[in-house]
């Protein structure tokens, strides 16, 4: 029994250390940025942070060094615990440069911003964004880019051959699609897809940046940051005004295209690249996204036109479609001020936004929310139940849904989709209640709870360095749980809870 506990600890420690070490290497990018722009203070911040992160990674690998020799098999519980534990360690370690920069009011605020980046939420507590160093801006946007694909996916890309149970590590990060038979290959394809879009998207935004009056170097940096933020459905931006800084319709259109593509399943991208273009029209998630986003845009347009918020149809279309799609894809780039949601959009407008933020993008994409796949499956499940009630019991029919391939719509599939949706709704309800107890209105609390639960990043004005610490802690936990889709976090709680109970029993014996 004791041996098994030790083995479990070693496996978890070894792979967690590996993922931490992999992420630490990424800090070389802001270090190079600091060198390129002669930013010496941020250079020191990142050298300190990289060293600390590497030391923690080395220590964990050392503690679990027997794992490799034993060729220990990674079980499901290990995969889930490793994924969530890596995220917790990395949140604290990657927050160090934020705190050292002096742009965070506290370490809690730094951790908030890192978790917001990793989970591709995009809420910001970092102060004075307009005077941030290039190195820290690079790091902020890199975090959200890596977070969108996943730190475990990153580590798996470079993992040695023959790692037993790599698939379980991969699933632990709420990704389950297998593009090729081995997980390492799948992880590499995910990165390949992202890097091709990175090159194309950054080039498009760079050219547009030059056309709208940005200087070549800053146009490139803005393009890179905005691509990383949009593709990862993150929502960070290098300036205080977010997308409003650019005052450009063309810039907004390019980012819409990028974040809508980013919210699609990697499996769909791969299928289309393989020549299977029909998948675009048959896929349950695309259909679900098309229906819900069109309905939400039309409802918001009708409501806000009735309220006379925007002077003409074109203005209304530009402001509403951008924000609704940004919310639905869980991106969180905002083309109006946060307070204007509360002041102009009214309760109905806020409710539309809350619903689309909770639905979110596609499964196995960079997006958050409870995902179009689950909405589609549950809707089809309801239709199936109604049809079953209305048809003869002798009429046995197999119900299916299309998700990369035809799949049977079994009761198990509907049940597991419903369970995750219920978890999201519970988390959202807790957040709403907490917001109201802190003195915010129901509509504002619901908006903010939806934005963290669905990893969106739009704010109605509550998120600020002066918000209550209890809300900051809830937001960090909600972003984390929402991104990992609960199972990994529950596994970590169960695993650490079990260890505590066993220790208590020993003590009392």
């Amino acid at each position: 029994m004791q041996n098994s506990t030790l083995h479990n600890f070693e496996i978890i420690s070894y792979y967690t250390g590996y993922i931490i070490l992999g992420t630490a290497v990424l800090m070389a990018i802001p270090i190079l940025t600091a060198l390129a722009f002669a930013e010496w203070d941020p250079l020191c911040d990142f050298v300190i942070s990289m060293s600390l992160t590497m030391l923690v990674g080395i220590l964990l690998i050392f503690l679990g060094r027997q794992t490799r020799a034993r060729r220990a098999d990674v079980q499901w519980k290990h995969g889930f615990v490793i994924a969530s534990l890596s995220w917790i360690f990395l949140t604290a370690l990657c927050a160090v440069p934020y705190r050292l920069s002096g742009h965070s009011a506290s370490f809690l605020d730094s951790c908030f911003d890192v978790m917001s980046g990793f989970t591709t939420t995009g809420l910001v507590l970092t102060q004075d964004l307009d005077h941030l160093s290039n190195a820290l801006n690079m790091w902020r946007h890199l975090l959200t880019f890596i977070g969108g694909q996943g730190m475990v996916v990153l580590a798996l890309t470079f993992l040695a051959k023959g790692t037993n149970g790599a698939y379980r590590l991969y699933v632990g990060e709420a990704k389950d699609i297998e593009l090729v038979p081995n997980v390492k290959g799948t992880a590499r394809i995910i990165w390949k897809i992202s890097f091709i879009y990175l090159a194309v998207g950054t080039a498009a935004l760079w050219l547009d940046g030059l056309l709208i009056g940005l200087k070549p170097v800053s146009a490139f940096l803005h393009a890179l940051y905005m691509f990383e933020s949009s593709w990862s459905t993150g929502g960070f931006a290098p300036m205080t005004q977010n997308i409003m800084y650019y005052h450009s319709l063309s810039y907004e259109i390019i980012t819409i295209v990028i974040f809508v593509l980013g919210s699609f399943n990697f499996g769909l991208h791969y299928a289309v690249w393989q020549g299977n273009r029909k998948e675009l029209f048959k896929n349950i998630e695309i259909r679900s996204f098309f229906i819900t986003s069109t309905a939400a845009c039309l409802m918001a347009l009708a409501w806000l036109m009735k309220r006379g918020v925007y002077p003409d149809a074109l203005s209304a279309f530009r402001r509403i479609v951008f924000n609704v799609l940004s919310a639905h894809t869980t991106t969180g780039l905002g083309s109006i001020y946060a307070r204007q949601f509360a002041l102009d959009w009214g309760d109905f407008g806020i409710m539309v936004m809350v619903i689309v933020m909770l639905i979110g993008g596609s499964a196995c994409s960079t997006a958050g929310g409870f995902k179009g796949l689950r909405v589609g499956v549950i809707m089809k499940g309801i239709v199936k139940e109604v049809k079953k009630l209305l048809t003869s019991e002798r009429n046995l029919r197999v119900y299916k849904f299309h998700y990369i391939k035809e799949q049977p719509l079994s009761d198990d599939v509907v049940r597991s989709a419903s369970l995750i949706v219920i978890c999201y709704i519970i988390l959202f309800s807790i957040g709403t209640m907490l917001g109201t107890t802190c003195g915010y209105s129901l509509a504002q609390s619901a908006f903010e709870a939806a934005t963290v639960t669905g990893n969106v990043g739009l704010s109605i004005g509550i998120t600020s360095p002066s918000m209550p610490a209890v809300l900051k802690i809830y937001d960090i936990i909600a972003m984390f749980m929402g991104r990992l889709e609960f199972l990994s976090v529950f596994a970590l709680i169960g695993y650490s809870g079990g260890a505590v109970i066993r220790q208590c029993k020993k003590v009392f014996k």
Binding site: S51, R65, L132, G213, Y246, H247, L249, L314, R318
Partner: protein
């Protein structure tokens, strides 16, 4: 004579703070503009703050973003006016502090429903400056020490070939 000069001086001392307050009251904070957007919509306002980022020239017109510490807003102005701003705020410098008089739009039809100000006049209140960011020697020492320690740990791990040793034992 001396007495009357004293009275005038005293009167000026009393009145001056009020004029200063009345002058400050003319300037509206950006957050106040947003919070009371219906009140200020399509009216002439005065905002004062730091020019940030960079100017975005689009023909005769140019976009300049202004941050007054409460929030930031886009100001649409003549390119010739924008060129009077010498420094824009970023990591290396604090931008010129400017006072802009213009019309506030909570959703400007001309600019696709954007919340902005169309400038009528621009005044440079104080020039920007390069921000001194001296290297913190303690931070630099910590960075060097930690980097050396990390390199040693990595080298030790590689030197002892711990990984391979255990692999051989296990294999």
């Amino acid at each position: 004579m001396q007495k009357s000069i004293q009275i005038i001086f005293l009167a000026l001392l009393i009145v001056l703070p009020f004029t200063a307050r009345a002058y400050a009251a003319d300037t509206v904070e950006i957050n106040q503009l947003i919070e009371q957007e219906n009140r200020f919509n399509r009216t002439q306002v005065v905002v004062q703050g730091e020019a940030i980022g960079e100017p975005m020239e689009r023909g005769d017109m140019c976009w300049v973003n202004l941050n007054d510490g409460t929030n930031a807003i886009g100001i649409k102005m003549k390119t010739s006016d924008a060129r009077r701003i010498a420094m824009f705020g970023n990591y290396r410098q604090k931008g010129d502090t400017v006072r802009v008089t213009g019309t506030f739009y909570k959703a400007c039809a001309e600019d696709g429903g954007e919340t902005d100000i169309h400038a009528v006049s621009l005044e440079i209140i104080s020039p920007g400056r390069v921000t001194e960011r001296p290297l913190d020697s303690r931070k630099a020492a910590a960075a060097v020490s930690l980097a050396v320690l990390t390199a040693l740990c990595l080298a030790a791990l590689k030197h002892k070939k711990i990984d391979r040793l255990f692999q051989r034992k296990g294999g």
